[in-house]
Symmetry: D2
Subunit: 345 residues, 4 copies
């Protein structure tokens, strides 16, 4: 089975496993208060370029999102997000379960624009019944987005400026941060992300770790008492060093970004191969997720030899997703393109 289902089909990158193996037998303090987490946090701070930024590790992405958002909002506030935003679409109402409404804006290729944020806030403020409407309290974006798209620096600058003018913390979900930073045509650096957001995550699960996300507060004041929140929401790993170790391994020697470049390059190779075969894309993605329109018969036939995701089901056509990761090989991409060529008939 060709493994294009998602970017978390394989375990951790060998360097991650090797690190865990290397510390086997050692004893550590619990709950992330160990030297490995400390070293990993230092490495992260050095990378993102913000001295003293609070860094925390949690077990997963939904965990990170719900914990950050619930820690930042007061009860009457909501979080602005694109309709396609992961918190709105695929976390079983985790944010609402902490008491907060997701204030959706029509996604612009998966993105939230500065204009859309200003429109939500202005419309709220101008409403006669504004106190009867959830108050916008922060903004959630993802990079890459759930559609594989990316923010350009100018877009994130504009969004950040707007958020700061309006007093809204800007939170970037970096579950696929590496893919975003190395995507085709992107100009956003990790320093930009750190400078322009208030808090962001560095995804591990979808980027070569076994599991885990790092949360970086570039606005340190927002991190007050954050460890309580992690514990309360169930995201605090007893053996916290397992998270620190993975990030320490991934961020060493540029591994994180080079794995991302690898996955992106293969995804674009796939994209080009499929386009050459005449298949139409469902949206332009410069990163490791490629969305393609397939006739139902082709999708059904392909499913026998390849694992992929189905995004929408139509009577004649489906939109499917092919995902690459650190574990994808050029041979697998070639095999997939060849299979598609045969199926195209």
């Amino acid at each position: 089975m060709l493994p294009f289902l998602n970017d978390y089909q394989h375990g951790g990158h060998p360097a991650v496993l090797a690190y865990l193996q290397s510390i086997q037998g050692q004893a550590f303090p619990g709950y992330g208060e160990d030297a490995i987490c400390s070293a990993a946090a230092d490495r992260i701070r050095a990378w993102v370029g913000i001295k003293g930024a609070p860094v925390h590790f949690v077990s997963g992405g939904t965990q990170a999102n719900l914990t950050v958002i619930a820690s930042l909002l007061r009860p009457h506030e909501g979080v602005i997000a694109a309709t396609t935003g992961h918190i709105n679409a695929h976390e079983t109402g985790a944010v609402e379960a902490t008491g907060h409404k997701v204030l959706t804006v029509e996604n612009a290729q998966g993105k939230v624009t500065a204009d859309a944020v200003r429109e939500v806030v202005t419309s709220h403020a101008n409403d006669e019944a504004f106190e009867h409407i959830v108050k916008p309290g922060m903004v959630y974006i993802s990079h890459t987005t759930e559609l594989g798209t990316i923010y350009q620096r100018a877009e994130l600058e504009a969004l950040s400026t707007t958020c700061r003018a309006l007093g809204l913390p800007l939170y970037l979900d970096g579950a696929r941060l590496g893919y975003g930073l190395t995507a085709e045509g992107g100009d956003l650096s990790i320093h930009d992300v750190a400078r322009l957001t208030d808090v962001f995550t560095i995804g591990g699960t979808k980027q070569g770790a076994l599991f885990g996300e790092a949360i970086v507060f570039t606005n340190a004041a927002l991190a007050k008492d954050f460890r309580y929140h992690i514990k309360q929401r169930g995201g605090m790993l007893a053996k916290g060093w397992l998270l620190g170790a993975q990030f320490d391994a991934l961020l060493k020697d540029d591994l994180y970004l080079s794995l991302s470049r690898h996955a992106n390059a293969l995804a674009l190779q796939l994209r080009d191969g499929l386009q050459n075969l005449g298949f139409a894309l469902a949206g332009a993605s410069p990163s490791n997720q490629q969305f393609v329109r397939l006739p139902v018969s082709v999708a059904d036939a392909l499913a026998e030899s390849c694992a992929f995701g189905t995004i929408t089901q139509g009577e004649k056509e489906r939109v499917v997703r092919f995902c690459t990761s650190w574990a994808t090989t050029g041979e697998q991409v070639d095999e997939l393109v060849e299979a598609m060529e045969r199926l195209r008939g």
Copy 2:
């Protein structure tokens, strides 16, 4: 100032005040466990035609909505509603504050259709990641809707049939139930409402009471332990008989519906008057709320002599709402039409 701002600008109907005055000095058990509440509940059950239906009284409409919804849903479930639904638009995220997502469907003139419900449920069930998406757990509608529109019997039949087939309790917010039941062109009776929903409210606040809503569970099983929920959410009035008394007064001798008819008739008189003057409606409403498009200059000038609501603000035009109630008089409608005639120039 002509009072067309809303349908809760005046205190209770004189019959309500008289009732309260008449029991002054008597002592009652607390929390709604008194003879007056019991009599009012009996009167309600007789009216709606469901023997033994649990009836509860709470202090307000948001209170009723959040308490009913939170009592019916499990944590992973959400409530389907129109985007214009009061719970989605004007209750400051009260439902989300109890942990549940509002699953919005595009409103059809303020209504939720059977097709829209089926589409939400089918789409959820067919999604590969259905467990990552909030599960539809019930349906919320309002009658009249927030746009003044009403469900026809065939529409509510279809919706009810669909909800029952899908296992979704159907909850009707009757904050303006009387206006709905007596609206121009409507064919829905209180017996239909009782038969086709699982739980509904009989609005007091907007229908001539000082305050308060009655909650009627036509599906008695759903009311299990409901008094705990009322208490927990802060909706249980210590002097509960004040609520029972108001409903007993309002539902006696058809007062509730005759006040509604009165308000509806005046609203339609106003509508016709404004249309005759050439003003355009913003949506067709057969009930006590009339939505009209006004040039900004007209709206500004009118505001000096008339209280009304502003729904949307445009550069040249506003959509405003004129509301009638039991307290509105034909003279006031005439005065408003005359004022508009002058302003039209």
Copy 3:
């Protein structure tokens, strides 16, 4: 039936009803943004002696408690209260339903002491696993307490000083504030309450109103966006002036306190009468609630002619509560004492 069940068995004081009758027919803006609420808030500010203190009105006591507490705490914080505190004992977990733990301290005759607060905070801070324990975030007290007892000025001074030193807002539930301020042997003035707490309520329901509580923020910063919270929790009355009117009526010409003095005096007359008959008190209360130990047979017999509360049930003995209010008369107290004399045998 002699009415000693509680202090909310009767409707509002005649002055309250008369006020409501006097404004019948007038139209007001909704949601508490009317001239009557404004006047009532001014009267309250003048009485409590804090210029510019934000004042809000909500429909009931549980509503007030849950809304204030949920608005003040962050998710990982809890509220310190006596085990007997209303929020811990008799609100069906309303505070927990907003996500917060009640951190109980053994009550000292219903009160929270400065020492108890310091002990909770110190013990939390010194715990190795402090981040795994709910952080004390505020303090809740009631005056009178649920046991009828009162804080002396020195006690409240000490508590207030401790709370301020520890950064904990102090919230006083004044559901029975009038009884507290006029209790036998008390030295606490309304100015003291305002000066020593951060937010407190002035109870209406148990003090002669039909319903409603006033919330006074003497620490104005804590009231930020409070109207959103009221709306979200369902406590915002559409016809808000009904609340303002009641407080305006009650606080005029010292009525509030004189009704309280009346009820307290009758309660003490009852207390003395029962003690003279040889019945034992279950705790010393200087206010309108009197707790008495009765043999089961006496309690059963009395229940035929008198409504009272049962606090604890023993095999041979019960603790019962007799409550007075503005509506209690000296004759009723005399009758009760006479009935008890007969039952004593």
Copy 4:
């Protein structure tokens, strides 16, 4: 540093690491819907002896507790637990954050007795104001308890019988289940646990895994839609097979229980050694946690060469905890006893 701080100081048992290494490079479906999780669940079902019991894996213990409890309770219900219960004492109010009160009973050596449960329920049912009090909705126990103690079969039989008579699901937190099942003097088998509870966990984190807990619903009806809950609360691991693999490794060839026996035996050896030296125990524990009273000076001196937990701080004395695990060696116990002998002076 001698590692007696807790039972999660070391990574996973070598068999766990070896398993993870062995599947490196393979691709799996996400979110626990893979063959390894399926095999692990089968192994668990075979061990506990309940065919068809739903088995789920989550990332940690607090996660398991809050997810199970929130999935079982309606909003007005609370969970009965010992004051020392982990959910009450050390999870930062995670249960309250889902909206539910923890109804504490005085712990009996860390345990909840059948009598205590009956007392809570009876007292609630007999209260005049029962609807104003959180309704007991389930019972939480831990085995071993947080004090290292265990339930005897007769105790759990009595508790289970009571819970079933009262309609309360019984949930056993088995974070230290293996230590409990193999504790000195215990007579409770895994079959008993499965038979007498409705849902229980098999702890991984404190029992030799890297992380993770298995949740076993012996009452299958309670597991309805449980995967939604796991996802909503952030406990669903994308690479779910990592959890299945660990449990598959641990439960093979009796490894789970043999590691538990190992840890228990060393703990008792330590206990006896310290008692022989004249140190007093703070409570009798037959399992891998030993609580000892130490003079402050001894505790301070010991802290230089040994990691251990401090439970209570006194002026002259501390209660400390020594914990063993799969990774503890007999030599370490000997060293600790020798160190204590020297410190005793």
